[in-house]
């Protein structure tokens, strides 16, 4: 066997994850063993999506699929070993990180999503927990179990995607057509969470998520998002005014102006006006000081 499974590190609904070693290179790897016996419909959709998209995406900021093999009627995905994720880091009160660290994580995340979007793929589940960290401090976008290819103009999509707190307003409204902009929204929320060190818009349920979102960022109107009021759930909404620049500055005290601009670009209500990955990457935030930290220097966050 080329790969050894050494320790079980996680178990999800459709897979068990082990840490192991690739014998020929002696490098650490993770093996995601897809449970097949439990699925009466054959290969599970999430597994199919994961294989389908990881096979295409080859980028320093996207988890890399090293190999796939079958053993004992199970499908095994061999992935690079990623010891931590941003959720762990955000929650660990013993870890202090700098504005440069946040900038580096945002830059790597946006580079990854830019590549994903250029390949016509929507991730549809971005959250700190799915932004993994490699032993050399790199961000790796992971978990493509909800991903899909950008649909044709006549295809409809399910709005029941993305973990609630990171869900874009068009999804909250139940839109059947949406674009890459939903992923950018999620990254905007993650950006806020990195600065605040707590979840930015933690709704209790789907209804409260709308309430929380619009209270913080203003209820969209037909003026800046034409026909938004034609969504069925719109007329039940309380209309909040958008926050002033000052309110933002107060909420994100340490953030420079350029960071707030970028965040505003990503958290624009109207998905057509929301910044795309290129606009985000060209934001002044990334070129002004402080420079993004060198991932190599951020490795100490990974020590237990």
């Amino acid at each position: 066997m080329e790969y050894s499974k050494e320790k079980k590190v996680g178990e999800g609904t459709y897979a068990v994850v082990y840490v192991g070693t690739q014998r020929s290179t002696n490098r650490q790897i993770a093996i995601k063993e897809i449970k097949t016996s439990e699925f009466k419909d054959g290969l599970d959709m999430s597994a199919i999506r994961e294989v389908k998209y990881l096979q295409e995406l080859n980028h320093p900021n996207v988890i890399s699929l090293i190999d796939i093999f079958m053993a004992y009627d199970n499908l095994n995905l061999v992935l690079e070993f990623l010891p931590s994720d941003l959720e762990v880091i955000i929650k660990d009160r013993n870890i202090l990180f700098t504005p440069g660290d946040i900038k580096a994580w945002m830059l790597m995340t946006l580079r990854g999503i830019h590549h994903i979007h250029r390949n016509f793929v929507l991730h549809r589940d971005l959250k700190p927990n799915n932004l993994l960290l490699s032993p050399d401090g790199m961000i790796k976008i992971a978990d493509f179990g909800l991903a899909r290819i950008m649909p044709g103009p006549r295809e409809t999509l399910t709005s029941n995607v993305v973990t609630r707190w990171y869900r874009a307003p068009e999804l909250l409204f139940g839109a059947q057509h949406y674009t890459y902009a939903i992923d950018i929204w999620s990254i905007g929320i993650i950006f806020a969470e990195l600065m605040l060190r707590i979840p930015y818009l933690p709704g209790q349920d789907d209804v409260s998520q709308m309430e929380v979102t619009f209270r913080a960022l203003g209820t969209p109107t037909d003026k800046d998002w034409p026909e938004v009021s034609s969504f069925p759930s719109y007329n039940k909404l309380q209309i909040y005014p958008p926050p002033s620049k000052d309110e933002f500055r107060k909420r994100f005290i340490a953030a420079p102006e350029s960071a707030l601009d970028l965040m505003n670009g990503m958290l624009t209500m109207n998905p057509h006006k929301r910044w795309d990955s290129s606009q985000c990457l060209q934001s002044v935030y990334f070129t002004e000081l402080p420079p993004p930290s060198n991932p190599e220097d951020m490795k100490n966050f990974l020590k237990k």
Partner: protein
Amino acid sequence: MSESTPVSTANNSTTATPDPVVPDKPPNYKVISDDDLYRHSSQYRFWSFTKDNLKQKRLETNSRATQKIEEDMKKFIGSQTLTNDELNITSTKAIPLTMEEELKLVNFYTQKVKVISQHLNLPTEVTATAIVFFKKFFIENSVMEFDPKELVHTTIFLACKSENYFISVDSFARKAKSSREAILKYEFTLLESLKFSLLLHHPYKPLHGFFLDIQNVLHDKVDLNHMGRIYDACRKRITESLLTDIIYHFTPPQITLAILLIEDEQLITKYLEIKFTGDENSHNIQLDKLLAIINSCKEMILSPDVVPTQDAKVIAAKNYYVQHPMVLINKYRKKREGQESTAEPPEKRLKTD
């Protein structure tokens, strides 16, 4: 802008005025074009071949299966006591399929995949994916190793899931008049044979792109109703064209242009001329080169391998006998007994008399 250079990045000692706003392009700076992206796709990396390559692959699959069949046949003959006539019959009727025969049988069943998918009212993309999956499976595997009949439903079912068109296996089995077990039996083998490459770039999206761009480039000169008719006709033709080998040799936009050319040569020629000559040409594409590629693609599309049912039956029977020589022998023995018994009647009649 801050004037103090951070201590940690003291690498630009040779530059007099470090300017953090416009970073230098790194030495390995490269613009990744859409063509580069396509070359990174698994469709290109694993499933694009020259015609010779493809033929070679099919020959290899065929000879691997043939070898196994011949070994089995030797064992069979060694284990049985056969008359000279019976040996003669096995060596003439139970012979492995040639690569060409295999291909004919595969093409026949690929047509079935298409018809069944359409009969099940599946979206066009699902049908297209099923066709492509099925054909690819039989590049890696021989019909002498896997009965193509057994993969038809498996392929369509996996195509549904891969194209995000989920149907439970039970309701699929009901609609397809098959069983859960039969559908799932080779699902893993299929996935493995596809080299885990599931994302297919079908020509339907480029068709939509060209459809919009043609109207843009030839505005005022195209009739919208006419364009609509062409669009629908092209979509149908794309599905049909996937039955040939074009996807291994051409990119999706090349296939799309070939199909558009078949549908309205005058219009597309005009579009390409405006697009790729003169001032409009910012694409660095040579029109004559492009036309040569599109035309060779068009030729392949216009010469599909339509296999009559009768031919397929003959090949399928041969395939069956070579794998089950005893059936052939028994059939022969029965026939001979029959002949003998027709020679017997006088005696029998005598007895009954």
